[in-house]
Amino acid sequence: MPSNTKGMNKTVQDLLLLENQQLNNDNFLLKLKSPVHLSGILPGQFVNVEIKSAREIFLRRPFSVLDVDYQNQTISLLVKILGRGSKKLTEITPGQKISVVFPLGKSFTFPDPGDRVLLIGGGSGVAPMLFLAKMCGLPADNVHVLLGAKTINDHINVDDYLKFGHFYYTTEDGSKGERGFVIDHPVFKEQLSKFTRIYTCGPNPMMKAIAASAKKANIICEVSLENMMACGFGVCLCCVEDTNEGHKCVCTEGPVFNVNDLKW
């Protein structure tokens, strides 16, 4: 299945907040009901959310799609509190409407049957990894998901996704899974060559380290970038990443890039 660029038209809609669930200290799960169908929204794509109630928050804030219930027309986001906007967003109560622009960006390239994939998520980068694990169409044995965090409390509960793959964890303090960074985990350090594709989303230093290993091992590797955005749909040219073909818009030509195209 090729990367999706034209699933549904981009649209601005008021979505109804159905649930706002605190997952741990600073991660929240927001479930939103859409008045329009969501078919064709795929892992790696994102939405751009207006944060109305906050003074001096002028632009929207982009968030990856964590999950979609196509039938009930709901979309879930994983929001990590980083600054003022994400904080305000987590304070909105169910029953209120939130203006959202979606779907934005290109999805990950789907694996071929027979691929063995390693999905690596750090921080809020966990969101697109979980959605990809669920949607990639491979048997669970071929899907390996490695999640990294600072400490056990920064890991969110991923029970709903365990059936889609094998899960591994790292924490910097060893409080859950292996101690260290994701690249220190045996599944990455020792078994990398078993994988035919790597997908990753998280802090840039993490993704860069992963990309370096993937290149060396000659494994296809796609990363999802989180450059600062003003518009999210390709008109402002603010979100560019320097690639081998020059500046590319992360919001329309990404956020997913093959690491071979990046100047990393």
Partner: protein, 303 residues
Amino acid sequence: MVDLGIKIHNVEFKNPVLTASGTCGFGEELSDFIDLSRLGGIVVKGTTLNHREGNPYPRMAETPSGMLNAVGLQNKGVKNFVNNIYPRIKDIDTNIIVNVNGSTIDEYIAVTEQINELDKIPAIELNISCPNVKEGGMAFGVSCPSAEAVVKAVRKVYNKTLIVKLSPNVTSIAEIAKAVEGQGADSVSLINTLLGMAIDAEKRRPVLSTVTGGLSGPAVKPIALRMVWQVYNAVKIPVIGMGGIMNATDAIEFILAGASAVQIGTAIFKDPTIPVQVIDGISSYMEKHKIGSISELIGGLQM
């Protein structure tokens, strides 16, 4: 039915609402969201003679009620526009206007000459006010002699409608407007962005790769309104107003201050349907106030 039609020099616009250069791509990017043919016009991304990569990332900083950008005229050059983009957009039923840029007068001329060949481009907007490029750009727009020189040169090679886009980073924008009117500009548009800066106090670094950038959005609206009003009172050619327009009320304020048309810029980033909402809102306002034709509102400020 109210009459929203206006005329700038000899170009007719179905309504006075255009999308601003650098904030609407080539129009196409908005087609998922709105019916482009509803727009009065589309001013496409700033075009230069050669391909430009623009400035390094980061290029954007959010500010109170506004944003700074330092895009730096990233574009694939005028040849690419003529060969690849123009064919795709030329049949959109609205006025497509090209925003023309250069680091030297010769570059402005070269770009203009190539755009001049395009039947479906009724006007150019000569950008002498880009604050985000090292050479040319705003430098041309901040003194009367240099503004006059570039307008004079371009006027010689262009006989369709010539709109000159002015910089707000000047002591007297009315004088610059008069200077370019004197060289045959058919209209002036204003304001381009105000030169600003953002600092990350934690990192003790400028936020933008270029240190300074251009400020736009509602924060600048009071300044933009004042400048439109000053320029309207200084020149005879039509004025196109912009700077922080977020809704129909804002647009009407600019029209009352003297703008014959308005451009919507940064607002598009917040909500790409705003240009159409503004058109509808102006209609409602006119109906409510029993104003038959938009021309009755232009400069209609009661003093």
